[in-house]
Every structure is written in C-alpha cells, then in structure tokens.
C-alpha cells in the first residue's frame, strides 16, 4: 500500500503532462499549469529538506565527536550568521523581517547578507574550482601520454583545439596560403568543432534521449521504483 499510492501518483502526473502536450483543448492545459506550479512549491520544500539534513548531519558529527568535528562548528556558525542576516534584512532589493536595514547597509557598504556573499562566498566558491587548473597542469605532465591510436587521436585534437583557441594561433599559421586557408589553426579548430565534434555529440544526444525515454517510461508505468527507496 505504501508504495502503490505513490506509484499511482507518479502515473497520474505523468499522464496529465503527456496528454496536455498533445491535446491543447481545455481543461488539459489547466491541469498541466496547476501541476507545474505545484511542482515549484514542492521542490522548494525539497531544497529546505536538503539544507536541513545537511545541518542535521553536521550536528551529528559534532555530537559524536567525529574526526575533525571542530570544523563542523564553523559550518554551523557561518550557516547561522548568513541565515540570520538574510532573514532580518533581506538581500539586494528584497526586504527582510526588519525591512531594508538602510543604516547597517550604509556603514557596511552593503547589506550584511550581500557583504558575506561578496567577500566570503564568492572567493571561496570560485577559488575552490580554480584548484582544477593546477590538477590539469599536473596531469598534462604525468598522464597525458601518447599510447593507443584512439587516445592519440584524442590528444592530437586536444592540442589543435588548445592552440587554436589562443591568440597565438592566428600568428603561427598566417603563412599558410589563402587557397589552403582551412588549414590555419583557428579555422581548423572551428572545422573540428563544427563537424566531427558535432557528429559525435549528436550521436551521444540521440542515444541519451532514447535512454531518457526508456527511464521515464519505466517510472511513469511504475516498473522502475528505485526512487521510492528501501523497497527491495
């Protein structure tokens, strides 16, 4: 019973969408509109769920004194601060519980929430991903080695594209005569992107689209139930 009703709900919502796509007449469009609007509200609760379980797991780590538990206190403190600032004075144009907080904003140069966003969240987030530049460099030296025919093909294309997307490329190959202009690096790069790359990516798209149809069909018909979890 506990899994029959959810299966039925998934089926009904799927069918409403499918029918509305092919029958433009009322009332199907209205059903679809209602469903998609509900979707937005339910998914915002899902976000709440995600964030609260994160906090729950942090609390658990602190109370169990898990390794590095002290750092999780920092998680909670920064979470609390950002949350409280946001709720009290809002962010950007959005007013909070205490209004726009003009006085504080004047002293700080921005609302507290925005201040934290700009000077803490932004640098943290963008630096985190810039670490990857270093790993690419290290991998370039140690792992990008010519081996099999296939991987050589990959590496050679990569080299052409990397060169072709720099400002040097134009200079390097401008000596190639106009009749063979398509061999100039920037144009060769464009050619690779526009034709062979498009072909392969298109093959991936088409196969993946078939995969999506298969998976969606299984979900709507209730053949696939793994998303309900713990049903085994």
């Amino acid at each position: 019973m506990k899994s029959k009703i959810p299966q039925f709900l998934a089926f009904i919502s799927g069918v409403v969408i499918l029918v509305a796509a092919f029958i433009p007449h009322t009332p199907f469009g209205m059903f679809e509109e209602t469903l998609t609007n509900w979707f937005m509200i339910i998914s915002s609760f899902a976000i709440l769920l995600g964030q609260s379980s994160l906090i729950q797991s942090n609390l658990a780590k602190i109370s169990q004194k898990a390794p590095d538990w002290k750092y999780h206190i920092a998680t909670l403190v920064s979470f609390g601060a950002m949350l409280i600032f946001g709720l009290l004075w809002g962010m950007e144009n959005t007013p909070g519980i205490l209004g726009q907080g003009e006085k504080i904003a004047e002293n700080l140069g921005a609302k507290p929430f925005d201040y934290l966003f700009e000077y803490a969240f932004m640098p943290l987030s963008s630096t985190m991903f810039s670490l990857l530049a270093f790993y690419i460099a290290s991998a370039a030296y140690r792992a990008f080695i010519f081996k099999t025919f296939e991987s050589n093909l990959l590496l050679i294309t990569a080299v052409i594209v990397m060169l072709g997307r720099t400002s040097f490329a134009t200079v390097l190959t401008s000596w190639i005569p106009d009749s063979l202009h398509f061999l100039r690096l920037p144009e060769l790069t464009d050619f690779i992107m526009q034709y062979p790359n498009t072909a392969a990516q298109r093959a991936i798209l088409i196969s993946a689209a078939l995969g999506v149809v298969g998976a969606s069909l299984r979900i709507i018909l209730g053949i696939e139930r793994s998303y309900l979890g713990g049903d085994k």
Partner: protein, 371 residues
Amino acid sequence: MKNLHLILLFLLIGIFAFATSEGTETYTAEDAPWDDGTAVLHRWNLSAKWEFLSLQKADSLGVYQEIFNEFSPSGQFKETGLNPDTKYQYRLVAYNKERSDSTSLFSETTTQQQWFAMNKLPLLILLVIVCSSVLYYILSARKGKELFIRRISGLDSIDEAIGRATEKGKPILFVPGISDLGDIQTIAALNILNQVAMKSAEYGTEILVPCRFSMVMSAARETVKDGYLKAGKPDAYKEDNIFYVTDDQFGFVAGVDGIMLRELPAANFFLGAFWAESLILAETGFTTGAIQTAGTGQPHQLPFFVVSCDYTLIGEELYAASAYLSRDPQQLGSLKGQDFGKLLTIILILAGIIAEIAGLGWFKNFFEGVF
C-alpha cells in the same frame, strides 16, 4: 516588326505584373492552427509603394490599438497571449513616409481551441514506436527470453587486471563514483562491483572500496559480500575494506589519492558518476602504474579517463555493462528497446538523406512537424 511584338509583350507582362501586385494587396488574420486558442496568425502582402505599416487590434470599445509595426512587403506575425474562443477584429494600415497616402485592410477571426496538436503527430508516432519496443523487450525479458547483448570490451580487462594484482600481491581499488545511491550510474557501478568482487574472491586478492556516502557504503558492503558468497569464499570477506571517507568532494579525492600512493593497488576501477575529480584520480592512478578501468555517463569527464586509463566504458557502455552482468530484465529489456530505437534512427537518417538528394523535401519536413 518583331521588335514591336517583343515590346508589346513586355508591356503586357509589365502591366499584368503591376496589376497583380496591386490587386493582391492582401491581409488576413487567422486563428493559429493546432493550438490552445491563444494565438492569431497575421499574414500580409503589400505593394512596393508602402514603406511603413501598423497592425492594429480593436479593443473592447472598438478603438484600434497598434500591436505591431515592423514593415516588410510581405510577411507574417504571430500574436500570442489571446483568450480562446473570442472574436477579434484587426486593421492593417500601410502608409508612406509622409503619410500622404495610406491604405487600410481589415480582417477578423475567432480563436479556437483544438483537440489535437497536429504538428506534434511525428513526435507522437515515433514516441509510441520507441516506447512500445522498450515495453515489448522488458516483458520478453521478464518471461525469461534470452536477449543478446554484446560483451563490452572494457569488461575484458577485469580478469587481466585482477590477475595482475594477484601476481604482484597488491590490492584492487574500486571507486563507485561520487554520487549517492539515487543515481543510476552508482547502481550500475555496484552491479559491476559485484562481478569484480566475485573475481577477486576467486583469485584471493583484496578489494578496497572507498565510498563518499554512507548509503553507498552499506550497499557496496552487501554487494561485495554477495560476490564473495558467489565465489564460495564468504570467510575471506572483510567488511572494513569497504569504508566511508568523507562527504566532501575534494576531501574524498584527497583521501583516495592517499590510498593509491600508500597501498599502490595494482588495478584501479573508477566506475560511476564522476565530475571534476576524475582527472585527479586518473592521474594519480596512472603514476602508480596500476591497470586502470574507468567508466562514467558524464561526457565531460570521459576525455580524462580515456587518456589516462587503460580501458574506458564510454557513456551508455556503463549501463550496458551493468545490464550484461546483472541480467536484470528491466535493465536488459530497456537497453534492447533503446537499441531498436537506435537502429530506427540510423535507417531514418539514411532514408532521409536519400530523399533529400532525390529532392523529396516532405521527408525532412515531416520531422519538423510541417506537412
């Protein structure tokens, strides 16, 4: 004499042409076809003497309000956001620069809701075909029909890699991706893990499985245990070899990196969902000299795996490998159904190109929903 005839002919044609262009100065407003009755299609054909136009709609008081004013001698404009089943009156005013001369054309239409979106017919037909084939194969697989799937070349490496690890007396490392259990890639990885665990139990080689989520860890423990059981060596199973590292993405990678550099596993398997860390894992594994097998459905990460691993399962090969090994009717049937769709695609593309070359435009138009 001949010349005169020619001149006369040209004159006649000229007058005729002028007359037709003058005579067919048209404007129509029609209910847009196959929709929910919220749009009107305006079409016009004006003579060359006009330079501006103003398309106007009568409001509730009967006063015309401009809704569109981009000039083109013949063109169309789709007005949206209307109410269904309502009568609308329009006026098209065309004029020249000084507004010294103008003409007005009138039209009216009633918006209608349709019962079927005809332009989506090709979508419906092909969708029904693909869905039926998926269902057909799932049902046949459930009935126990033998469905053939080719062996995936990346899987051939399993024996070789485990053999090498046994020779060297080093462990095997298996990372089931960094997604949680909800991701099908993780499930596929665990299906393959089952096979790898079985083989490593047969060879008597240790297998290490670091996990990013506790849910994945418990599932992986079950899977490995089952593999050892199948190999008839349940006693050799060590629960502690399947362990949780940390939730954090880079922290997890640093942890696995450390394991690779310390334990020097002779065979690495990176199967499942990977993001930016694919590169770091594959690089470290490469430098330790392990035989590496990788596979993921994340297309962006495949390049790094292909370059630094010995075998790579590309995209869907991961799911196919999982279906191949697990023989789960759902996965198998679905895969076969999709295979049918791929065959159909190839045939349609080939037929379409032949039709295009032969000048039969309707074939391609069909896919674009234009009949």
